[in-house]
Symmetry: C2
Amino acid sequence: MLDDQLSDDVLEEGDYELDKEVFQPVLAALEAEDAEALVRALEPVHAADIADIIEQLGHDERVALVRLYGGELDGEILSELDEGLREEIVGAMSPTVLADAVRELETDDVVDLIEDLDEPQTAAVLRALDDDDRAVVEQSLSYPEESAGRLMQRELVFVPEHWDVGQTIDFLRNQEDLPEQFYHVILVDPRMRPTGYVTLGRLMGSARKVKMVDIAEDSFRTIPVMQDEGEVAYAFNQYHLISAPVVDADDRLVGVITIDDAMVILDEEHEEDIMRLAGVGESSLSDRVIDTTKRRFPWLAVNLVTAILASLVVAQFEDVITQFVALAVLMPIVASMGGNAGTQSLTVAVRSLATKDLTSANVWRVIRREAAVGLINGLIFAVVMGLVGVAWFGTPLLGVVIAIAMVVNLVVAGLAGVIIPVVLDRLDIDPALASGAFVTTVTDVVGFFAFLGLAAVMLL
Amino acid sequence: MLDDQLSDDVLEEGDYELDKEVFQPVLAALEAEDAEALVRALEPVHAADIADIIEQLGHDERVALVRLYGGELDGEILSELDEGLREEIVGAMSPTVLADAVRELETDDVVDLIEDLDEPQTAAVLRALDDDDRAVVEQSLSYPEESAGRLMQRELVFVPEHWDVGQTIDFLRNQEDLPEQFYHVILVDPRMRPTGYVTLGRLMGSARKVKMVDIAEDSFRTIPVMQDEGEVAYAFNQYHLISAPVVDADDRLVGVITIDDAMVILDEEHEEDIMRLAGVGESSLSDRVIDTTKRRFPWLAVNLVTAILASLVVAQFEDVITQFVALAVLMPIVASMGGNAGTQSLTVAVRSLATKDLTSANVWRVIRREAAVGLINGLIFAVVMGLVGVAWFGTPLLGVVIAIAMVVNLVVAGLAGVIIPVVLDRLDIDPALASGAFVTTVTDVVGFFAFLGLAAVMLL
C-alpha cells in the first residue's frame, strides 16, 4: 500500500479535474450576464466537461447559464448531464433550441436522452426529429428499459458470409453513408443470422481474394435483444468484445452494441452497487436537498428498526448492566467489531456474486473460508480484548466474557456476510441493496446476546 | 425500485454464469484423472471462463488440473487468472510449456502477465520470448507500474498528416503485418508528434482524394506516457475515446491505448474503491485463508482502536448509566444511526471525488447540503425516537435527550462524511482507504458524548 502511494506520487494525475482556471471565467460571465464572454469561456471545453460544470453550479447560476448560453446547449451536452438535471435543463429550453439540439445526435443517443424525461418533454423531442429517425427511436423505446435493445445502434454494416475481402472493400467504398463509428463488418447468412465478424484492421491487411470467413474473429458472440444491459456489460468485460451483433428471438441481426456503450453501463452498474451497499440508492451531487433527504431516509428507517431490535436484546440484560456498568462501556466494541467484520465479508460476497465468481461450485468452500477467517481474527482480537478488559476493569472474568463474545461475533459476522447475500441472490433480490441491513442486524443481535448473555451467566 | 425489479424479471439474465453443466464434466475428469476428458470438457469454453473455473476449484483440484491440462494452459488463460493464482499456476508449469504459452501473446499482455510475478518467474517468461518481443517488453517494464506506459501497445499505425485517403489505403493494403486490433490511423507531423486520428470506418467511407486531416475526429486527445492508469481510464470514460495515442515528454508518439484496456482499468479501479470502502483491500475468493485473514486484520485493528475511543467516552458516564440503565439500552441506536448516516454521505463524497464531480467549485455547497440533509432526517428521527423513548421507558426527559442527540449526531455525520474525505484527498491520501475509520470514530464519539452528556445534565 505504501508502494502504491509512492508510485502514485511519481505519476502525473489530476489532469482532468476542472480547475479554477476553467470555472473563474464562466462564473465571471454569469455574474456580468455577458453571453458572449460565456460562449468564449466554454468554447474550448469538451461537452462532457461543460455538463460537469453545469452540474457543479448552484441553482441560480444554472438558470442564468441556460438563459445566456441558450442556443449553444447542444445535444451532446444534454446527453452528458445527470438525469435529474437533464429534466430541469430541457424544461428550460425553448422548443426550437431543443429541436436543433437533438437533431444532431445519433439515434441511440436520442433514446438515452429521452428515456428519463417526462411525457410532454419526450413528445417535444420526438416531434423535433425527422420521420426516419423518429421511427427508429420509437422502435428502440419499444424494448424494455435496461435491455440490449435500448442500448444498441441500428446503423449496421454487414455483408454475406460467402464474400471475399475484395468484394467487401468495394462494397464499403461505394456505400453512401457508413455509420460514424464502426469497427467490424458483420457476416450474415441468407436468413440474416450473424455468423461472424471481421475487424476493419484485419480487412485492410488482407489480400482481395481472401474469404471473409477465413479472417473472422475467434471470439464471436451475439447478444439477445432482450438481455439485461448489466449482462451485456459483463460479456464485453469478460470476453474482451469490441462490438457485438444483437439478435432477435429468431437469431436475426437487429442491431449492434459497441464497447463504448458497454463501458458506460459497466460504470453505472458499479456506481449503483457502491451506492446500494452504502444505503444511498441513486444519487448525484446536483440533486436537491429534499430529493437527497428522501432517498436516504428509507435506509435510515430500516436501520432504525434493526437498531431497535439490537436494543431489545440489550434490554433483556438491564440487571446485569446495572451491576456491572463496565458491560455498557464495552458493548460498543462488540457491536463495532462484528459490524465491520460482517461488512468486509459482505462486500467481498456481493462483488463476487456480481462478477459471477461466487457460484454453486464454490459457495460451500467460500462459506467455510469466511468462517475460518472469522475464527482466526476472532481469536487474535479475543486475546487483545481479553487483556484490555482485565487491565481496564481488573476483573479477569470480564476479560473471558468479552474474549468469547469476540470469537463468536467474528465467526457469525463472517458467516452472515456471505450466507445472507447468497440467499438474497437466490431469491432474486439484489444482494447489494438488502444485505447490509440484515448482516448488521445479525451481528448486533448475536454480538450483544453473546456478550451480555455470557456476562449474565458468568458474572452474576 | 419495484419497477427495476419488475423490468429485470422480463429481461434475460444470468446467461454468463458458469453453471453445473460446465463444472460437472470438469470435476468428473479431474476425479478420474482423465486428461483427455478434461481437454474435451474445456474445449468449447472461452479462456476467460476457463480462468474462472480454475479460480473456483479447491486447491487440490487445481493442482490436479495443472498436471492433467498442462500443455493446453495457454497464455490467454494465464492473463485472465487472478494475480494470486497466476503465480501459483506459473510456478507449477514446466519451462517449455510456459514458453509456448507466452510466445503467442501480444507484448502488452505479456507485460500485464509478468508484472506481478516473482523475479525468477519473470526471468523465465522473458527468456521464452524472442529478442524483438523481449526488447519491447523490457522497455514497457521500464515505465512505472500503473502508468500509461505499462498499458500501451507499441504496434502503431500512423501516416504523415498531409496524406490523403488514397495514399493511406494503399499504404495499409501494402503493409506486411498490421496489428490485430486497431481502429484509428494516427496522423503525425514530421517530428512524430500526433496531430489527429481518423477512424477506419471514416477512411473506408471517404473518396481517395479527401485529405486525411479533413476527416480527422473532433475528440482527439493524447495521453502522457507517465500518466496514472486511473486517469487514463477516466479520460476514456469521460471523453468517449476508442483509442488514444500515447506521447512522451517531447509530445512524440510512443504507443497507443485502446478502450478495451481502459475498460479493464476502470473495472479494477471501481473494485478497488469498493473494497477499500469496506476495509478489505485487494482480495479475491481464491486467496488462501491466511492471506485473507492478514488482509482484513489491519482494518479490524484500526476499528478496534476507534471503538475503544468510543468506549472511553462511554466510560466517562458510568454514573449516569448506573442510575438510568435505559441509556445503555438506547446507546446502540445512537451509534448505529450516526454510523449509517455518516457512511451514506461518506460514500457519496468518495465517489464524487473519484469522478471529479466534487471540486473546489462546489465543495462548500455540498457541505451545506449534507448538513441540511442531516438536519432534516435528524429532526424526523428525533421525533420518532423521542416518542419511542417515552413510550418504552415512560420518562419524557429521556425522550428529549435521545431526540436532541439524534439531531446532533445526524448533522455531524453528514458533515464528517464529506469533510473528512475532502481533507484526506487534499492531503493526497486515498479517501476510499481511510475515511471510514475516521468518520465512524467521529460519529461514535460525538454520538455517545451528545447522548450521555445531555443525559448527565438533564437527568441527574
